[in-house]
Symmetry: C2
Subunit: 206 residues, 2 copies
DNA sequence: CGATGCGTTGATCGGTATCAAGGGGGGTGG
DNA sequence: CCACCCCCCTTGATACCGATCAACGCATCG
């Protein structure tokens, strides 16, 4: 397994740089080791949907076909371990212990995608933003990072594209939650959860 | 592999019956052999999101955790092969050829989920309905079934919950597409695509 | 023949998008 | 060091799409 990791080479992407483009042939598999990236899809006229975020430990490029399903872009400076795709696939046969891990990761991602479909299809703007904050907070907690205040590493545009809203609506919703005393915006990318209970309530009941 | 399949028992569900409930402990793994089922999630107040559909060949119950992520319900009479979950998991170790297949299936499902997020987050009602019809048609074609007219095995409520709309909007949108000469509704569950090009266009440009 | 459930159609309301303008912070150049 | 600018975020006014509320059509079944 150690030997496997050695087959990859370390690569870096500055915030804003593109890791891969939607529809491009999937040459590499990346394992994120530091930073944050966003996954996204777009419609021909430019409308965008952020599909999810990649944090350290996440994989990119394991598509069922040979082309990338989503584009990926570094949100904060990213450090990743890069493998040639065929070599990665070969390694799966060489190190059979990798497969169960991979399956588990993909299944977890699928479960997250399903949750997000509920959010996009049925939740109101207020519920979406509240759910998003809770999700970030929980992610941090599960990685033994401070879960409050919550750090938002991405711009409002990316949040809006993630939640299926516009930047204006996201901004207004933060303001509403703050005025309601549920959160407090320490600065644009740092939000303190004043009442976790109120936030949880806001996340799923209109 | 044959031996593996023999470890399951054949079970049947009439249309409308529940295969499993959201949040319930995941006791079984089902392999659908006939019929159609829907996967869904719900919010405490009853709002529903249909996550996807299960067709013959699809698996149900492979959750990363021990509880079902989604509820599942038979849309048309369903026939499935049922495995006790621990036995299924054990079988994965016994028949290593299963894992790559499983990984591929899960990755494909994930890709479909990502497409659907784009639909739910960014497409208009007209685009959603058009995309849905194309999806059903393509699914049929890829299984060597007639792809036109398209058969809709599910009720309008389920379609609406799948597309993040209301039944009324779905109904109106079918009417609009019919008046525009793009489709023709032969009956409530049979729709003929008059112009596939127009439908493709309607699916992704406003 | 009436009852029930599903789908369609119509009228109105409301939430979020859109359009437009105004802060504010960080970086650059003078 | 300061002034300016640029980009991002916020706030406000208005428009519009889809939700909601209400009624009706139509088929199925008792």
């Amino acid at each position: 397994m150690r030997a496997f990791a050695a087959q990859g080479s370390l690569v870096r992407f500055a915030a804003g740089q593109t890791l891969c483009e939607e529809g491009a042939p999937s040459q590499w598999v990346f394992s994120i080791t530091a930073g944050v990236a966003s996954l996204h899809k777009a419609l021909p006229d430019g409308r965008r949907q952020t599909i999810g975020f990649l944090f350290p430990g996440d994989l990119l490029g394991l598509t069922p076909g040979s082309a990338h399903e989503c584009g990926a872009e570094a949100i904060a400076d990213v450090e990743a371990c890069r493998f040639a795709r065929p070599r990665f696939m070969a390694a799966l046969d060489e190190y059979p212990a990798l497969r169960p891990r991979l399956l588990h990761m993909t299944a977890t991602e699928l479960a997250a995608a399903q949750d997000h479909m509920l959010l996009l299809g049925r939740k109101t703007a207020g519920e979406r933003v509240a759910s998003f904050l809770l999700q970030l907070s929980q992610r941090a907690a599960s990685h033994d990072l401070p879960d409050n205040p919550v750090l938002l590493p991405m711009r409002r545009t990316v949040i809006a594209d993630y939640l299926g809203l516009t930047v204006e609506t996201v901004s207004r919703t933060f303001t509403h939650l703050a005025r309601a005393g549920v959160i407090e915006t320490l600065n644009k990318s740092t939000i303190r959860i004043v009442s976790a209970n109120a936030l949880r309530h806001a996340a799923s009941s209109r």
